[in-house]
Symmetry: C2
Subunit: 479 residues, 2 copies
Amino acid sequence: MAKKQEEFVTHIARRSEDFSQWYTDVILKTDMVDYSDVKGCMVIKPYGYGVWELIQHEMDARFKATGHKNAYFPLLIPESLLMKEAEHVEGFAPEVAWVTMGGKEVLPERLAIRPTSETIIGSMYSKWVQSYRDLPVLMNQWCNVMRWEKSTRPFLRTSEFLWQEGHTVHATLEEAEEETVRMLGVYKEFAENVLAIPVITGQKSAKEKFAGAEHTYTMEAMMQDGKALQMGTSHNLGQNFAKSYDITFLDKDGALKYGYTTSWGTSTRMIGGLIMVHGDDRGLVLPPKVAPVQVEVVPIAQHKEGVFEKANELFFALKNAGLRVELDDSEKSAGWKFNECEMKGIPVRVEIGPKDIEKGTVVLVRRDNFEKTFAPMENLADTIKTLLEDIHNNLFEQAKARRDAHITQATDFETFKQGVNGGFVEAMWCGERDCEDAIKAETGATTRCMPFGEHKCLSDVCVHCGRPAKRLMIFAKAY
Amino acid sequence: MAKKQEEFVTHIARRSEDFSQWYTDVILKTDMVDYSDVKGCMVIKPYGYGVWELIQHEMDARFKATGHKNAYFPLLIPESLLMKEAEHVEGFAPEVAWVTMGGKEVLPERLAIRPTSETIIGSMYSKWVQSYRDLPVLMNQWCNVMRWEKSTRPFLRTSEFLWQEGHTVHATLEEAEEETVRMLGVYKEFAENVLAIPVITGQKSAKEKFAGAEHTYTMEAMMQDGKALQMGTSHNLGQNFAKSYDITFLDKDGALKYGYTTSWGTSTRMIGGLIMVHGDDRGLVLPPKVAPVQVEVVPIAQHKEGVFEKANELFFALKNAGLRVELDDSEKSAGWKFNECEMKGIPVRVEIGPKDIEKGTVVLVRRDNFEKTFAPMENLADTIKTLLEDIHNNLFEQAKARRDAHITQATDFETFKQGVNGGFVEAMWCGERDCEDAIKAETGATTRCMPFGEHKCLSDVCVHCGRPAKRLMIFAKAY
């Protein structure tokens, strides 16, 4: 048995030895995802899609609670429409997949598969928005998008991915700004309270902002290898798209004005994030709120009288209490089941055997820290719900402590270089593009964000070029 | 006021005068949908998408209850992969949109935007299915698909549409057949119990079956103009796709065998169906279970003391009771609000004014038959829930009675021709393709299905060609 367990686990590379291989092993061996025959496109298997469904469910409720409604806009965007906002085109044209034929006919105009939908949605908003009474427009879309990527990794960067994109129109710049900040706040609350991932929110540099935005806000998380993952962004588009797509409204004062638009998005990339933040050498560690299976019931010596019946009874009791629970009554050995359950990151395992039944207890095993406790069968659902809360909190605190331990404050470039090798660096920066490019060329690190709510001043000068610096920037290597 | 109401309503064509224009007026004026800049592609606006979300919610629960899990497969299918099943290619190639460029590079192989996903899913199943232990595979996908259509109508036929497609693999033909029938049963139960649409289920002719299927089952509904709408189909694919995509498994007896696959789908087309089955000259009539707003609260003389407060209180009471409710406290006149509410097909309107408050009652107005009743404010949510059930049942019965009154049994071709002019015809048919084509050419009617569970024999000979006939076929003009 011991040998079998060992074999089972050694299929996964160790994080400390090869983090990238560990990631690939985990996502493939846990049936989260698979490669397809289409270059750069992934298949999201039921276990991975189950996580996405829970993410959608949680986020969608938050979007609706903040007044947004879902809609659906076309997949294809005529080239001429895509080309109307100059900066946007420059940013997205290189990675667009083009439809040039419909049936046997060559199309008169190429159609882009949406890389994002500001352009097609802008053209509709132009039609729908007439008066200040029509504002604000608050919509969201759940859909697939496509960006023709050269090198891809499942969830993190694929040519096609699933996401949500919010698109709003407002009467004033202030309202647009408020919306941009509000939705980033929704993202942060979601990341922390649902995914158990601590995030740093702040503003992107001019280079890293969304193509066509006035400015972009982001939430950045630290993966276990110290690299950053951008988990979601929110853009104040000012009047840029309103002017390109003619979104005007008759204001209260009788004047025709351009609207102010925002957009904000998160994607299946977040699944890559939660894997790389919480996983360990045994495999996935899923945060309870997005775990497709929260509890696995494993009968011990299930051929013995009464075991299977009791396990089944518990399974239904937990299910009826609203837990996502599975009963593994297969012929596999208990050890094998334990390993599988751990690899798949199921938050709580319930073991029940003849001795437990005698005592009226079960064994509960937490996935996050492998802690084993005996618990009475009575009120088991409540016990487990409390345990799931604990696990969520522990995962969050653990990730936060790990992240905070890997943030370096640098006032000299030697410290900076060491810091970005396995972590985030806080440093003063001049704000100039040439300096940003040079830092990236020398260290591989990019500007992640100018964090909100902090006015730390580590020095008067840029950590790299020595020119005057006013803002603190977070730098890191990133996915 | 009377004049304003009149104006408001006359924007919609009458069904009896121009059913097609009525449909277009209704979907555009109720903000269900809009045309886009992309040929043949629609924008589903929040009110229409709200119906789709409710449809998804109801169907998804049924798929999961029958053991299916959701997954996501790539949008793009390499041409060589699409081409492996000969009959399938022939059926779908003429209406495929082709991606030929990624960024600035011409692709080495054209990629089809999925018209349906048997091919790409088959290629993955080939990899995933190894042993009889892996069977059955029961998956479903919610996604967009594209079929390059020449003439399009929102919801009914568009180049891009949203749908679900189930794809399963089984060890035996019997199990595949069982699944095919089971899922058509799920569709029928859904159509009747959720959409309040009576459907006839049965088998398609060889001509009308899915390209590549052994046979196709369908559910057909009658629209108010007597035309048929195919609302969902379920295909037993036999071993056709298993052989083309190499889906094999090692059976219990040690032999390597091809699996048997099925697929089944329904789409946003169902929204077109429920509009054309239930709508009337005032606009939409939404079946309560998929109405984004089930109850509209309209305060009467809302400037009078206490009215707005009481309306608001009722609104929250209904909302907390789980009803989908809206309060219209805008400055529009009550008459205008009533019309809008009727046009949008909201099942129940609650009117509350000073007199009602005195008496502790409200006025309830049903959308389906405009019946007005007084109801006590106490337990209003329960009263309305019962009313919504009544409305659902009435809509179903009304649609069924209308349909049944427009089904003609024909044993001669004159009766047949009259019958398909505004209804369905039941007739005996020879089963030959040339006859099917001739009937279509002469009358515009197509074979809809050989209905399940009926063994009516109207005659020994085909209604059109006089050759021997064994099966009853339903014919109709169709969308």
